[in-house]
Each structure stands twice: as structure tokens, then as C-alpha cells.
Symmetry: C2
Subunit: 332 residues, 2 copies
Amino acid sequence: MILVLTDRQKEILKLIVMEYIKNAKPVGSNLICDILNCSSATVRSEMASLEELGLLEKTHTSSGRVPSEEGYRYYVNNLMKPKEISGEDMLKLQLIFSNNQLEISDCIKKSLEIVSDITNYTSVVLGTKSHDNILKEINIVPLSNDTVVVVVITDKGFVEHKTVNVEGISLEEIKKTVTLINNMIIGTPIDEVSSKLEFEVKPVIGRYVKEHERLYNVFYNVFTNFTNKSVDVVGKSNMLKLPEFSTVDKVRDVLEKLDDNIDNIVKEDSESKDIKIYIGKETNIDDDMTVIRTKYKTDKEEGTIAIVGPKRMEYDRVVNLLEYIKENIEKK
Amino acid sequence: MILVLTDRQKEILKLIVMEYIKNAKPVGSNLICDILNCSSATVRSEMASLEELGLLEKTHTSSGRVPSEEGYRYYVNNLMKPKEISGEDMLKLQLIFSNNQLEISDCIKKSLEIVSDITNYTSVVLGTKSHDNILKEINIVPLSNDTVVVVVITDKGFVEHKTVNVEGISLEEIKKTVTLINNMIIGTPIDEVSSKLEFEVKPVIGRYVKEHERLYNVFYNVFTNFTNKSVDVVGKSNMLKLPEFSTVDKVRDVLEKLDDNIDNIVKEDSESKDIKIYIGKETNIDDDMTVIRTKYKTDKEEGTIAIVGPKRMEYDRVVNLLEYIKENIEKK
DNA sequence: ATTTAGCACTATGAAAAAAGGAGTGCTTAA
DNA sequence: TTAAGCACTCCTTTTTTCATAGTGCTAAAT
């Protein structure tokens, strides 16, 4: 459905959204008419029209107006102007990305911590290490008679390891297995290792190695570590500072939903690499929340970063911060 | 100061503490006299004595009694009986410790998650991997012309790694450095590696290796990773369920203090391996909170586990849970 | 010498009532 | 179209009222 608004209606809607985002209080006609140099009665009738169109809501019969979900949507799609990142914020982020000591995944996490700190919203990072990695090398290091460490390295420099009890298996056997595995699967993309291990390697080691079942499990375990996705949620308690969380019940409710629905937040419903904005019901978390998220992709890893906050979110600011972080991740 | 209480006073104090722990409501004389088969007037006069001794408090002139900090202390030191872990709780914990797939550090974390879930208190795990580990092996794996992965392994099976840009440094030089380092510090306890690296190795590689400054930094970096202590805080938002956190202000206050004072919680003020209980001011976090903590030590690592909750904490239950977890960690 | 019954008293928390105010819609005039 | 005026509504805050759970004290009972 296409909405046609007059310029003045757009202006009023924009002012109301921005004002409400700033102060979390229903916006009355007086405030608007001061800015627009017209009478409050005029503004009131425009507000009534905007309400009829479903863009504004009242909290009760004689309250000021609050943007509806559609109101936010219209604002985001049609009225919002990108907002420059403030020098202060920029500085904080630069400090992280220009620090060469930090690994890329630490940069991502730390920069989103910054965003949570300066906005009071919650950040979510979903990282998938295995992206495009291929198996480079498997090492075993004997620790004692009974234990060895298996160390697996990918071409992008990811390392996983596991200490394993190999009581009753001779070092020869282990080495034989490693050699077999090395020969058969070095160069395989990490995502495919598990299945290759199961369908190609398992039958073969079964033939050559005595304790093949146990050994197989050891390696299978190490490899599945790679495909584990790591989810980091940062700054949940910052949200307590926002006025929408003024009651403990609301806090508890949202925190629980956040815990339960992290998957929904980062669910890949499109392959688009742009910034996506999900408002209210669209979030699948809580009707009062908004999620802004985007994907990033480096040559080492790919993932999703998202900001979760109330519908009354500083959309322009968050979009730009996310954009900026994404750029910095990808050029790092 | 030694307090001498009559048996009946002890009994009353104990009942009040237990009752208050259960219901978080000031305890009146009626409730006690029902249990003790005496009149409320009698109980009232005993309560007045206990208040005079500083063990009980009133919230206002005509309220029931609440244990004071000293009251809890007396209860913990003199009146508390160990409480059997319920079958249900025991089962949940056993499920974790009997799972051989899990590494010890995962067991610790998960078991404390359980504690947070069943008690609604917050758990803290401080792990120090480096304990008693000695350097076993250093591997380097070249990824491309410009990058290598440095993999360091200890005798207890801990592995740290770092991908390093070695642009402009020849592989020969790197190998030479690794050989030097291997020769000089293999077998050194991890805690001492940093200083040994600085005072013994650095001067030597300076003589033999061209890009020694950069290379030195690389290795120094990897080793400091080992001595990093990991702090995990679990179940902060569970505390929202407790009645002492019925206002957002209190929640915010305590969560902030928790974030800021994690170090205080696990600060080692004694080498004792017993369970320690810190009540109110003793916690150095918040006068309304209690911390119960203990150290654990395995042949691989050592650390501290702690439970943070309101002063009105189920002392007997938490002590036993912690004891049980500690035992299981140490025998694993 | 304790214990108990009786009674006056007190702060609290919940509910009800009152006051104040911000904001609306509608009607009418500019 | 726009603005001014006005009645009306609902929310918020404050004040009042009221019931109650609990106390401390005194005097009688054990």
C-alpha cells in the first residue's frame, strides 16, 4: 500500500518521530506548532489525518501522539536522513580498528561494545569462523603416555585443539591415523570435513587401524568445533537505562525473550548484504523492539552484527554506526 | 566479641533467619510462637534482646524483625546445618560431570550455570590456566608468504596461537628464532616465560636475528595470552526474579557494581582452600549482597568459583552446592 | 522469676478521593 | 485553509482515609 502524504504531513510525522525518539514522551501539537509556525489547531487536524492513515497512535483519548509501527517504517523508508557519526564516537571506534594488536574478531566484538555503551542498546555478534577455510595441517603432540593434543590449523590461520585420552592406543596407530587423515582431507573446506570424515575416511581407517572407532570420534570432535557458530550478546544491562525499561517486569520479559530468540535475530532471511531494519512484530522477538542488522564478510570469516533496542531507536545513528563498523571490518 | 545466647535465643534467631531467607518478609513474633509453643509476648521480649545484641533489626518501629549483618554472620558461623543437595539438583550436576565429552573448564562453567538457574543467584568463575603448566612445544605453520601461525602448547595440553604478519622476514629467520626459543625455554613454567623471554632470550636473538624486535613481540604476545585470566559471570539476569530486585534502580545499581567489582569478588585475600562467606560490607561490592566462594585446583588448572546473591541467601544450600562442585572438579 | 494476657500505639501499604494539567476534538469565525 | 475558543477526557500526582500487622509496656498468673 502506497501512502501519499503532503509535504507538511511528512514534516510533522518526521518531527514527531524524532521528538519521540529523543524524549520517549507522547508528542503534543503545541511543540510541533512552535517549530512549524502555525497554530496548534492546524497541527492537530494534520495529526488526526496521520492517525487515520495509521502512522500515528494515541496512548489514550487525550494524549499526544506516538509513532505507530507503520509510522516508524514510513520514517525509516522515506524521511530519515543519514546522520554523521559524531567525532567522539568515531574516535572511539577508530581506536579499536587502528589497533593492529587486535584480531579481527576482537575488533568486531569491541566495536559493538562501544556501540552498546554509547547508545544503550544491545549488540549481537554472530561469527562463523569456518567460512571458506580449508584444512591446512593436523598436528599431534604427545603429552604423556595416555594423552595427546590434536591441533588442527586452517589456511586462514584458525586453530582448534583438543586434549584426548588415548589410553590403550599406541602412538604408532595414532600417527598412522593422522597420516591417513592428512593424506585424504588436507585441502578440504572445513564445512565439508565432517561429511568427508564420515563417508570417506571412516571406512578406510577402519581397515588399517585397530581402535578406529575411538580415534575417529576424537577427530570428528575437533572438527565440529570449527563449525560452531559463536554468538556474543553485549550490553544487555545497558538497556536498563532506557525509559521503556522502567519496570522490572518489562526488563525481565525482554531479557528472557532476548535469550530465547537470539536465533531469530540473526536468522538469515535474505542473502542481502545491506543493512536491514526490523521494527516491532517484524523482529520475531518482541513487539516493542527493533533490530537493525547487517552481514559482514572478510577473507577470513563472515557473520552478522545486529543492534537490538526499543522501537524508539535512534535509527539514523545506529544505521550509520553499523555501516561504519561493517566497512572497517571488511577493509581490515 | 563473643556473644552468649541462650538456647532459645539461638533457636529464635535461626528461625527468623531461615524464615526471612525463605520469604523476604520481616518476621513477626506470632509466626515464631506458633512453632515454639510459647506466647508471642515471650518471643517479643527475646527478639528485643536479640536486637539489643545487634543480631536483629526492624525496618520501622512496628515491623517484624529482619536479620542484621551480624545476625546472618552468627547464623552462618553457629547455627547453620549443612543441607543435603536435593536429588533433582544433584542429578542436573551429575549429568554435567559424568559427561566425558566435556572439558573440565566447560564442566565448571556449566555446573555454575545450573547453580544460577536453580538458585537465581549469579555465578562467577575465574580460571587461571597457566597454573603449573610448562612449555612443551612451539610450532610455526606458514600460511602464505606474509603470514605464519605460531602455535604454543603446554605439557597440560593448553594451546594458544596467533596469526602473525611476517612480511619482510624470511622463513629462515623465523625458524632460526623458533629454534633458539625452543632451545632456551622449552620446559619453563608458563608464568616465567615472559620474564625469561625478556631477559634471557631477547638479548640472544638480538645477536642472531635481523628483525629481532618484531619477532620478539610476536612471541611475547602469544605467551601473555596464557597468563590471561578468564572471568565468566553467569546468570546475572536470573537475579531479577528475586524480590530484592523489585525496582529497576536497584537492579541497575547492583549490575553496575557487579561489573565494576568482579575483581573484588575473586580477590585472593587468603590462601585457604575452604569455602568462604562474605556478607554485606565484607563483600566490597554492595552492602546488600553476599558472596560465597572457594578455590579449586586440578592438575591442569586452578581458579575460583563464587556465587553472588542477596544477603538473604540460601547459605546452607549454596555452601553445599559449591562444595559438591568443587569436589567434582577436583576428582574429575 | 518467668511467662502470658491485655492494651495502647505506630508505621505501612492499599485503596479512595481530590486536585491539576496536558492535550484532544469540535465548532465557528477569520 | 487556518486559527481561536471551549468543553471534555484521561492521566498523574497528591492527599485522605482506613485496615492491619506488628510492637512495647504493664500487670496479673504461673
